[in-house]
């Protein structure tokens, strides 16, 4: 379960500030996968960062029933460690969480096979393409054996064949672990989410929740992506 109570967040950059959320409250039930939609600048990434714990600069309360949260950043290069190999990047959070490393290595082989990984784990992140970095970031999150998987535009750097593979994988994966994702492609979030939360353009407007089967995504949201 994810519970947000009176979340307020202001975004400041170069003396310009913008109120993203004002006393936003919502609850997402266990085992429910949710797509977070909205125009650019509506706070989708901020919401995911607040829920994952990456962003602590907000007021209000976030309650998670999940003990381990996997998080895939919009720009994976930002949170991969370029001084460690891909393998170490993937296993480091798992090792820190006290999970079995041998099992982790077996899982890694299994996921690498499913996702048809075509690069060596002994490389360093700076040697990888954007898509490969995104896959690395996903593997790192998966190996944490999360109880909630948060994905911020997980397909943005992937080519079409890899996108299909990852989507197919996540479609099956969400049966055991709910997803919270941002994606601009209807064919992606409609397959991976049970419902959609649509963030408004202005913080004073209400957040809309819609069952994914009934989503009528406005042209404006798609065009602004």
């Amino acid at each position: 379960m994810i519970k947000l109570k009176n979340i307020s967040k202001q975004y400041s950059h170069k003396k310009v500030s913008k109120q993203l959320f004002s006393k936003l409250s919502l609850t997402i039930a266990d085992d429910t996968s949710v797509a977070v939609l909205g125009k650019n600048g509506s706070g989708k990434t901020s919401m995911l960062q607040i829920i994952s714990g990456v962003d602590k600069e907000y007021t209000g309360l976030v309650e998670l029933s999940a003990n381990r949260v996997g998080y895939v950043n919009q720009k994976p290069g930002e949170i991969l460690l370029p001084w460690f190999t891909v393998k170490k990047n993937i296993l480091l959070p798992r090792e820190h969480a006290g999970l079995d490393i041998k099992k982790g290595e077996r899982l890694l082989v299994k996921y690498a096979d499913i996702l048809n990984i075509d690069f060596s784990f002994e490389k360093y992140p700076y040697m990888l393409s954007g898509g490969q970095q995104q896959i690395t970031s996903l593997l790192r999150a998966l190996l944490l054996e999360p109880e909630l998987l948060i994905l911020d535009e997980p397909f943005s750097a992937l080519d079409s064949s890899k996108r299909k593979l990852v989507k197919s994988f996540l479609t099956e994966y969400r049966c055991s672990c709910p997803l919270l994702l941002v994606s601009h492609r209807k064919e992606e979030y409609s397959q991976l989410a049970d419902e959609a939360i649509i963030l408004p353009d202005k913080y004073c407007e209400k957040v809309r929740r819609i069952n994914i089967e009934n989503v009528e995504v406005s042209e404006a949201i798609l065009e602004s992506s």
Binding site: V69, Y71, I79, L81, P82, W83, F84, A97, M127, L144
Partner: protein, 249 residues
Amino acid sequence: MKVHSGTLGLTIIVAIWQLVDLLQLFNPIYFASPLEVLAESFDILSTSTIYSDISHTVLRVLTALVISLLVGVPVGLLLGYYSKIHALFGGFLDFMRSIPPVVFFPLFYIALGPNDSSRIMTAALGASVLGILVVSKYTMQLDKTRLHYFRSLNFSQFMLFKNIIWYESLPAVIVAAKAISSWVVVIIIVTEMLVGPKHGLGARVQSVQITNNIPDLFFTIILIGAVGLIINILITMTEKRLIFWLQSD
């Protein structure tokens, strides 16, 4: 034949230098040509005192450099990562940076005596302040997203330092080392000139000035530059090994 740009540039400078001498643009009483300096250099390098001078200066420089980095890097990291601490001491550091470090030499001379300690501590003081400022400024500008992500995974401060902060700070350490090394060479040479020790390149400058051996003086100045250059080259070589992930950019 492909010529390295640096070699070509150096050749041009030496040619201009020779031309200046040929045209006698400066009084030959206080100006030496490249050929005169080269001839003098053979005499100088065949004597044993020059090597003692070089080694004493290099040892003082390296000692002061190490002390400055040991002080400057941790304090700089602290100020860079914790803005409240920076707010407390940033102004004081800017004030200290404005004071020429060599003015502290008389104080250290009185406190520590007429030996290497006073020279080294003077250089270390000035260079530490510069190091703190360079490291803290670099650290403040770092994107903290990576740190926040691992903090969200409940990494302890020690684990954050071991896996992230240390590596993220290495570029700042290298930048600081390059800035500090030049500063340290200057301060050590000046303090060697002020109250001359028995050995050292700064002391050599003073004694050569008395004998009025201009080619020797020119050569000693070039040696001092070479010491600084070699230290910089060593730092650059260390940089390529330590922060390999940035070399590919």
